[in-house]
Symmetry: C2
Subunit: 686 residues, 2 copies
């Protein structure tokens, strides 16, 4: 019985995957999933542990290559960092002398594909550990598992005795990072690749161009980045560097050049590509814009042939993402020549015109040795079946494609910029809903999914906090068996993942206090944090409704600092549920609720002098007052509950009205304890 | 009246340096030193501020070079990070369009020396800012000052209207980093160079060899690093990279190769250099060891001529540090041939033999175009006056040298590894004590000082926390006028410095919670932190008395995580002083003391289950119990004080005995609230 996390979920743990559990030894026995995330396909936990001390040595057996050696070097660095024990960085070749033997059976693909074998097995005894895999990628996955197993107890650091046989459920597990809208420099991309590798994700979907920026150096068409990026683009050397970095971590890099829409930034340098005359300027606002490539002109395809040829050489992945989403058709409708072309060629509508464009695009992509992937909109019966459809529309759209013979991946439900909970994303399954009724052959066409980090409201400072740790829940959904879906246990393990990522250099945790301190100026930031801890940014597309944003609007307000998911509010809800259910002795649990509510109620007075000195905090003054009022209502409600008295109707009405008001966004933020106070109020009324 | 920091020190601020203060505008008027550290030579604060917004643009005037352009690039990055406002990174040449004009008058020295002009003037109005300096180094200093001026208020980010004329008091302001004992990789060195630049320090004294490691690649004698470093050394390319990095920040790099003692690591590869036959192994323990170069053999000087020739080319600085400290003479005394040499050459003792060695060393150093610097021990009347003596012995030794005509710098009192307070270091002045009575000509021979970060008990993980923020107090002592010595105001500003360094990527703050979390394992680390916050590691050379350490002993215990200076204990003492002095209304201030004491008393019970699960925390169990007892004694004492009753003698005796016991180190840690509880007890007795 070691952690609060464990105590909370002990009753709920699924044991279905265990072949044997030793019941004597607290921790190993307590949770079959230990701290592992994603949960492996098969794990059995035995008795005892392998002690980790300064004598820990690694040997390499079997097939070897620099990628494995470098991965072992990083592994040793991180193990040293986790334990604080100086470790020898010399890799042995004699298994007998080693604590941990790593045995790779054969070289993998030169260029990793979704057919890569990522499986591995990891076995530990009290004396030794052994990791085996058919390919280097499996070794990479197994090393991450090993690091998640390391823990300390009353004797030493160690790894529990386990036998793990692991492989992913889906072969395509991606993260889209949009560097078109807000620029994200190379270090942001690299640290997110580190995090992806830790969670066993295997595709970086790099959204490299959009209306607001063209982010790759083209040597053939230098005005693309030269006029379309404000000087914020990746050189080809940097691209190659990122690809090598990703390959070293078992991650493919799929580039996306979104077309024919989302292309304003292309047209700044090359207005002749557009369906309406220029000149064009880099778009600074957010939304769906009119500028669209003209699919009726030969020159377009000549341009794209050269451009895609150049990019096909730069990006080794077999897939090339052509976007294809959100073409509003306005420029096409307004163009007489395009209308004439449609008539002449019997193209009935804009969807068909886009299919025509896509067919020609597919020819070009194919000519350069690539396969095509695009968003739902490219799905058209005229297109061949070897394209991949990325669905932002949902499992119905995905299933529809699969029935028609198209391969697909799911992004619906995985939009990180919607600022939803890890629990929400966790329950979205590519093979659920409409996809559940597919035949097994059709199901096999659904390769996996991708989380999407669209760039409207993220700067390098806060992008990590919008991706992590929530994305780990998606990573688990795509790797682990479908049956792994205990939300409480997911949250327990997510906390460890979040810590590990912080130690690896991700900034999802560290940016929070520093952004809050900026808001607080010379004042201590404590009261700002107490407020912020129970807030969340508004959801879905609500951001920007109260205020106009552009790509140069500072993202330095409370809404930019506040975490996407309030742990404090979630824990408060759990405590209220427990108190109301009488699961724990009522007195102390009510006392705990009272203490929290008092802190929230009294925080406004402490916050006021800080707000008075900070122009950035001005907007949250009413919000803070609302929190104080809501917490006050909660305290009064507790009085009624503890006294066993039903509150008067007038009072209830008043409180309900207050809570209704408190649900509305203020300063683009939501007060996340409101539903729980409502729950208390409902309980009091009974 | 904006920050707690300010409220505490408002009555104490020195105003001697101000030529004018606008009294209407709270903050600017409140503290003439604002957040500036080191305090400038001259500052006047006017009315109003220069607003910083997205329109902020920089222009360069006068002399230009890449070093200035790159510095402006970093400046804009940091300004963007401080404000969260996206700023244009395009540097203008038209002053009229710029918010901030930077005007460098001329190129500085190609290789920076201690004669470099570091002065600058910075003037801001509500419309514009202007930084002028005779050389690029002054521009670098002024940019750091500008960043420290940035703050937010109820309207905007801005910089107060100021006129600053600044120059350093001492020309040699250094930090020694010992990479011989524990290896510190290049990123540790670089981030500390960033911090040094922020505090206007100008010398990195790089201690590159010692008994435990030889850390530089020699191409002529590759066994130096090949056999003397466990593979942990800087390549010559890395050295050049660090030197360029330092130069870009106005910092000289002075290499130290300590000899004739502290040379075990040299002898692993080249035993023929030693005064006793080998073989030698890399030393793993700490202390003063016997292996010493043999000064009587010609081959030594041939070797050193080649080696120093190689290093003199690698390190461009005009000074070359030869160490010279702590030669215990045992190998010399035991060698018949050395004894014979001494007799033959009329060398009376080992000190004279070392002077003989140094004279020959000086010839070599001079031949390669360098000047010599060494520790106190090299001081000998036979040596010429153009060497620099670095004094670890104190102002008396320094003054002695200055009277004899030697140039010197002070390190006594600046040993960061002694784990003393910022206030202690702050009051050590190179021209104080025995040096105060020197003539002005003699005083001019004292060039400044250097803080020393010796490497026995620092790993890359915690070295920053041993250097910063305390080293900022030394930096201020060496830069600012001698009269700047208000300790409370120094601590107020130190907090801002500490935040800024954290934002720049130093790990002195962030390593603390992560190391505590490691100790706490799966448990929340809160109770570990509450305990740790009032502890400090043992002082001076006490570390290692209770336990034997080697260079591979893990530095992962509480003593390695705990901060060198307990802010919580310091603040508690201030609060007790205020409560006892009746400065604030007694009731609330006693209530505050009570709350703190209750938290410390009750923490032990919360810590116990964590300790039970962590082998690393076992050793602090008794310490935690002592803290609980001491806090309990404090609470009882408060009862007596508030009741106005004198406590009984027996009880007093018992408490005094408890406090005496509590003063003793446990787990190499000290409980820093003990003296303050003693103070309470003394007050109660009156």
């Amino acid at each position: 019985m070691r952690s609060l996390g464990f105590i909370r979920c002990a009753g709920l743990i699924s044991t279905m995957l265990l072949s044997s559990i030793a019941m004597q030894h607290g921790k190993a026995a307590a949770s079959p999933h230990l701290r592992l995330m994603p949960v492996p396909a098969q794990i059995s936990v035995g008795e005892g542990k392998l002690v980790l001390d300064a004598g820990f040595r690694v040997a390499l057996a079997g097939y070897q290559e620099p990628r494995i050696q470098k991965a072992v070097g990083r592994f040793l660095q991180r193990l040293q960092q986790q334990t604080g024990i100086p470790l020898s960085d010399k890799i042995l070749s004699d298994e007998a002398q080693a604590t941990f033997t790593i045995n790779c059976h054969a070289a993998g693909e030169e260029t990793q594909s979704f057919r890569a074998d990522e499986s591995y097995s990891l076995e530990t005894t009290p004396q030794k550990a052994r990791l085996s895999a058919p390919s280097p990628i499996g070794i990479l996955r197994g090393l991450e598992t090993f690091l998640q197993l390391v823990d300390l107890d009353d004797e030493s650091f160690g790894v529990p005795v386990v036998k793990i046989d692991d492989r992913p459920r889906f072969v395509w597990r991606g993260l889209l990072i949009d560097v078109g809208r807000h620029w994200e420099p190379i270090e942001v991309v690299k640290r997110n690749l580190d995090a992806m590798a830790a969670l066993k994700l295997n595709v970086l979907h790099w959204h490299l161009s959009d209306d607001q920026g063209f982010r790759v150096e083209s040597k053939i068409f230098p005005k693309l980045q030269g006029m379309g990026s404000d000087g914020r683009y990746f050189t080809q050397d940097q691209i190659r560097d990122v690809i090598a970095y990703a390959r070293g971590r078992g991650i493919r890099v799929v580039p996306e050049f979104d077309m024919p829409g989302h292309t304003t930034a292309w047209f700044v340098g090359y207005p002749e590509l557009a369906s309406a005359p220029g000149p064009y300027q880099i778009e600074r606002s957010w939304g769906v814009f009119d500028p669209t490539m003209d699919p009726t002109r030969k020159e377009i395809y000549k341009f794209l042939n050269s451009f895609i040829g150049e990019m096909a050489k730069l990006f080794p992945d077999e897939y090339f993402h052509v976007g294809g989403d959100e073409n509003n058709g306005k420029q096409w409708n307004a163009s007489a020549s395009i209308q004439a072309f449609k008539k002449q060629n019997n193209i009935p509508d804009n969807h068909a015109l886009q299919a025509y464009f896509n067919k020609r695009l597919l020819e070009i992509v194919t000519r350069h040795g690539k396969k095509m992937i695009g968003w739902d909109e490219i799905l058209h019966p005229d297109l061949p079946k070897n394209i991949i459809i990325q669905s932002w529309r949902g499992q119905a759209s995905l299933a529809d494609g699969a029935r028609k013979g198209f391969t697909g991946i799911l992004s619906y439900g995985y939009y990180l910029d919607h600022i939803l909970t890890a629990a929400y994303h966790y329950q979205i399954d590519p093979l659920d809903k409409e996809a559940a009724s597919l035949s097994s052959e059709e199901k096999a066409r659904i390769l996996g999914g991708e989380a999407c980090m669209w760039g409207e409201y993220v700067a390098p400072e806060n992008i990590d906090s919008r991706i992590w740790p929530r994305n780990a829940a998606i990573a688990e959904r795509l790797w682990s068996p479908m049956e792994v879906k205990d939300v409480r246990d997911m949250y327990r393990r997510l906390e460890f993942v979040s810590r590990d990522l912080d130690a690896m250099g991700l900034t999802h945790r560290s940016s929070y206090p520093s952004m809050l301190q900026r808001l607080a100026g010379d004042h201590p930031m404590g009261p700002v944090r107490i407020l912020s801890d129970i807030l969340e940014p508004v959801k879905y597309y609500s951001r920007g409704r109260a205020q106009h944003y552009t790509s140069v609007t500072p993202l330095n307000r409370l809404v930019d600092a506040t975490r996407p998911e309030s742990d404090a509010a979630r824990q408060f809800e759990i405590q209220v549920d427990q108190a109301l259910a009488g699961r724990s002795a009522a007195k102390p649990s009510f006392q705990l609720l009272r203490e929290r509510l008092i802190q929230w109620r009294d925080n406004d007075a402490r916050l006021k002098p800080i707000v008075a000195d900070s122009f950035l905090l001005k907007e949250v003054a009413p919000l803070s007052e609302t929190v104080a009022a809501v917490a006050g209502a909660g305290l009064q409600t507790l009085d009624y509950i503890e006294a066993g008295k039903a509150p008067p109707d007038d009072w209830k009405k008043e409180q309900s009205a207050l809570l209704e008001r408190a649900k509305r966004p203020q300063a683009e933020l939501l007060i996340m304890i409101v539903p729980t106070i409502q729950k208390l109020l409902d309980a009091a009324a009974k």
